[in-house]
Symmetry: C2
Subunit: 658 residues, 2 copies
């Protein structure tokens, strides 16, 4: 049966606000930053002398590479990728809404890239301008294929949005150049990039062009990874004497790059978190496209390790700043963690790629968890300030005075020396329509509850699927299926993990004993005319606790409503948030408050605050006596909205009266 | 009245074990290490490529500087100080027990240093061998005066122990060289060393030689500090283009060096912890010797900040590995802290210097706290393995896998790339007789309870003061005063902060309403014949809690008996120590166990262990439900003895049933 999703148009109160912000604020703002047109403070993402933070210079790097300007490359060796991710966000934006001026601007960027591209297809401003002789010779650090991957992703998106063939042709030339340089054949480099990205990008180029060469190249990079564990070291030896491409990377263990063993043997999420989830996304896509069950099995092992041992409740990943990396099972400190915005975005890519392999609500649950929490906390409501790191506990004095917490920013900076996160957010938010549904055989699966209208192609018939909802604030979701002629297909609706209770009606009648498959409520029937499904999820407030092996969360709970993890802020609760505890059987009350943070759901409950008794006057230690408490109302706001009102403490895991 | 302490001879079960170990094991072992005679693994104190850890080379550096050997300097720029501290430990050892062979060896080291010393008195193997042109030109990083200070301390001790005048003359030449190069006078450097040490050393040289020049030079360094905040930066600029003396130091803030403001204005303990307490020791000594009340006031402010806001219950200081530094008030994480052995040793120096200014048991309480806990935990019972960092909570998997915990060693290494701590321990332990008493006007104050015999000079009479005790395991301390002729003086006996209850008898009769002054029980009387005072301290087991502003210790307690802080180890209690909690009213039982760790007091109590319920099978988060516990006996051992039996978890702050 021919069955596919042809077009999804979001029309959602919650998300349109974000999508509009990306179009009207973030894209113009980021363009100005990439051109150094703004007088903003670019912050180092952590206390590290080697972080270049004077300017972006990203567009100037291309102008210099294109011969339009004199000068030197400035910024990280992967600075090009900031432009590519911006371009990809523009592509999605144009797909949603025509904008000739923006399109002209993006076309001019494509023209600039064409000029910067070398004759053989190579495209990288750092190596073209500064060190052409080191091309592909320091792959552990060089990010050449990482940048290439980001261009390919942008080009595919831009071509699909605007039909600009030049963009796609630059991408193919670049991919061809890589294909000529890498592979098993004699004379080619049997190696891979230190930062995965090309693998997932090549699957997109393959799906766009149908040229199998790109899929095979992606497969080569994946299977070659970790085979020859001396590859990076050998390249470093041969490069001997030249300066580091990135300071301090030489001492990273191979697991930092997921290059310590072949991918099929990797069963723990190790190393740099963004790299790992980008790798996994590539693996899951190649597994699907080549029907490679072994590779899919490896994806599942890594997925399981992440979500059952190494993921924050916000969907954040990466427990340490040192290498922006995973550490060990159950090691999830709340105040020194990394939880990079890009890593949660990568986790969404991985989840979606798994959903495309097989619908299982566990993937979509994590996708939703990351999206509504750790990802959108990455941007301020003004669309012009961003978190790189998304902490679960912040004390401003410690962020200021403890150099080990220099990465834990208290408010969102205007930009970063390493600016990977802001444009990554822009491209994800503006492509969110691609994450709502997947299709498997003759069933369409609903993963996200976002108001939208989607056109399905069922054989030769067009069917309209609509969601009407005030989710995430409300748990009522109304679906309608409009089919002019009778047609059969399945509709699978995710029942979120936090809503074991729910009501569902088909055309007004309760569905008795609904069929649940892999976490989805399945309606397999013949549709005709306008049919309506209404789903009521359990939006009651939940208290979650963490596995007791997570040392930092013992005796603490997290408050959740719908997909949102909540937090407490100093703004509402005063300082010393760690002294608060939620009372044993206290009721929670919920109200939507229009005037706070552009409108958010606020939760209140009864709690206690530990008193600082007189015995503590000027003393650090005292004989143990019973604690004293005062009653205190505790106010929670959704985690994503923190740090939008004032500079202060924040806490996600809060003590629970025992 | 002429009154002073002329000689103290320790004869103590607990401490003689340590003192003998230093003489028979540590000193020979450390000599072998300094000469690279041993096949041991020298560990980096933390994950940092720039730490030189192939060998010590410390003696060879001197041989090269002396022209006896060809080659280059190896090791840290302050590698010389390892030899000096070893020499100082030897001096104290010889003072206790003649050893011709050891004395010949030490004499030969003095001869070697004489050859390495330059004509003008300058002595530093790194700069003499490698970069003579940079002498005194990079003081922020160079440690030249730091090393000089350590030599001066060693020389004074060695001269006092052996009368070796060459040792003292090298020190005077070195100090004269410094005096000629530094000062307010035209043409001299108006600056100071990045690492304090010369200041306290010069007061020792002054007290030994009575040459006021050395005291004034110390005073100059102290008062100049932080006056011209551009001094280090200016030196760096003038040094422009040359390689770093120590990698990565250029970005440290001035507060790292306590050079951000004049010392009288510093009221918070900032920066590198060892530097701060060495500075404070120098300040307290100069304050005493020059009767400088303002400087003493500054010492008190810094003392108060440390002990009421920034000190671990073990007497450890330094909350972060990054800069081995203080962070912020109440920021005392247990698992990422630094608590360098040297910093606690420096805190003891500071406490003692304050006691010499004014007896106040608060200083001695901290001195004792650090000595019996954070300091002696720095060495293994075998005398050949050492901790640099003394954590309060260790999980081996996290030390291995979290690069942010690379400094938190699970067992004591044989040696370190930066080997400051092992010889610092040796010199402190072997000079412990100097820390038991101080004298103020006509009163002798007892700060430490260590069995010893001390000769007092009262006018022309000799009086013998003895302590007889099995402290720290027992709280009974018997003092005897033996005076052949009648003489009046005061005896002040510290009542430790943990013993608000105590009994005291004079010649068998209870003292009614004893006079307590500044925490000391004061006996002011005419002594004649053999008089006996017996003190019984409260050795019951105490539970301490931390100020609630210390976030990491909320709901937790620490067990203490006598001066010892106790901990729990995996060896006795199984893994997941964080799941244990001490029951509300459970009794503690104490027994001395000869066969464990060379004999230690072991404490047991009833507790509970949180169960890992079935709902946690393969899940990180679950809906909150009441916790389940199993009963569990909990076994505590003194903190100093941890990691002597097996590799495993350790915890000081343990949950208390609420």
């Amino acid at each position: 049966m021919s069955f596919n999703i042809s077009k999804t148009k979001i029309n959602d109160r919650f998300w349109d606000n974000y999508i509009d912000k990306v179009r009207t604020k973030m894209i113009p703002y980021q363009w100005d930053v990439l051109n150094d047109h703004l007088d903003i403070i670019i912050e180092k993402e952590r206390n590290d002398d080697y972080i270049p933070s004077e300017k972006s210079h990203a567009i100037d790097n291309f102008k210099i590479a294109a011969g339009l300007k004199e000068g030197n490359h400035y910024g990280w060796v992967f600075q090009d990728s900031d432009v590519y991710k911006w371009l990809e966000a523009v592509a999605y934006s144009l797909q949603k809404k025509e904008d000739d001026q923006l399109r002209d601007l993006a076309d001019s960027v494509i023209d600039l890239l064409e000029m910067a591209q070398e004759k053989d297809g190579y495209l990288n401003t750092y190596f073209s301008v500064e060190e052409p002789e080191r091309r592909f010779k320091m792959l552990a650090e060089s990010h050449e294929l990482y940048c290439a991957g980001h261009y390919i992703e942008a080009a595919v998106a831009y071509y699909e949005a605007t039909n600009n063939e030049k963009a796609l042709s630059i991408a193919c030339k670049l991919a061809d150049c890589i294909d000529e340089n890498f592979g098993n054949e004699e004379g080619k480099i049997k190696g891979y990039d230190g930062h995965e990205e090309i693998e997932l990008a090549l699957t997109k180029l393959y799906e766009c062009t149908k040229n199998d060469k790109y899929l095979q190249l992606s497969r080569f990079f994946l299977y070659e990874r970790g085979q020859d564990t001396s590859f990076f070291q050998r390249q470093r030896m041969e490069d001997n004497g030249k300066r580091d491409v990135i300071k301090g990377m030489a001492h990273r263990p191979l697991s930092y790059y997921q290059a310590h063993k072949p991918i099929l043997e990797q069963d723990k999420a190790e190393g740099h978190a963004v790299r790992l989830v980008y790798l996994c996304t590539g693996m899951a896509e190649v597994a699907r496209l080549t029907k490679d069950k072994e590779m899919l099995g490896a994806c599942k092992k890594l997925w399981k390790n992440i979500v059952t041992k190494r993921m924050y409740i916000t969907g954040g990943i990466g427990s340490t700043v040192d290498g922006e990396a995973f550490t060990a099972d159950y090691d999830l400190p709340n105040d020194t963690m990394y939880c990079e915005t890009c890593a949660s975005i990568g986790l969404i890519f991985f989840a979606q790629a798994m959903l495309k392999n097989e619908p299982n609500s566990e993937y979509a649950d994590v996708l939703e968890r990351a999206l509504y929490n750790s990802v959108i906390s990455g941007m301020a409501l003004d669309g012009k300030h961003f978190f790189y790191v998304n902490p679960l506990e912040v004390v401003p004095a410690y962020s200021e005075k403890d150099p080990g917490k220099s990465h834990v920013k208290v408010t969102r900076p205007a930009w970063f020396g390493c600016a990977c996160c802001p444009p990554n957010l822009a491209r994800l938010i503006n492509s969110l329509d691609k994450y709502i549904y997947t299709q498997q055989e003759d069933t369409i699966y609903v993963h996200l509850f976002i108001e939208n209208e989607t056109k399905l192609q069922v054989k030769d018939e067009s069917v309209i699927l609509k969601q009407h909802t005030d989710y995430p604030w409300s748990g009522s979701i109304h679906f309608s299926v409009e089919a002019d002629t009778k047609c059969s297909f399945g509709l699978g609706i995710r029942i979120p993990f936090w809503s074991s209770q729910y009501d569902v009606k088909l055309n007004g009648a309760p569905i008795e004993k609904p069929l649940i498959r892999n976490g989805y409520l399945i309606l397999e029937k013949e549709w005709f005319g306008k049919e309506e499904i209404s789903l009521q999820l359990d939006m009651s407030i939940k208290e979650w606790s963490a596995n007791p092996l997570v040392r930092d969360n013992l005796g603490k709970i997290v408050v959740q409503r719908g997909p949102f993890i909540y937090c407490v802020e100093e703004e509402d609760n005063g300082s010393n948030l760690h002294l608060l505890s939620v009372s044993r059987n206290a009721p929670f009350t919920y109200s939507f408050v229009e005037e706070v943070c552009e409108g958010i759901g606020v939760i209140k409950t009864k709690g206690k605050k530990k008193c600082i008794q007189n015995k503590w006057n000027d003393s650090l230690y005292a004989l143990y006596t019973n604690d004293q408490y005062e009653e205190k109302e505790i106010t929670f706001i959704p985690y994503f909205a923190w740090a939008n009102r004032s500079r202060g403490e924040m806490l996600v895991w809060i003590h629970k009266e025992s």
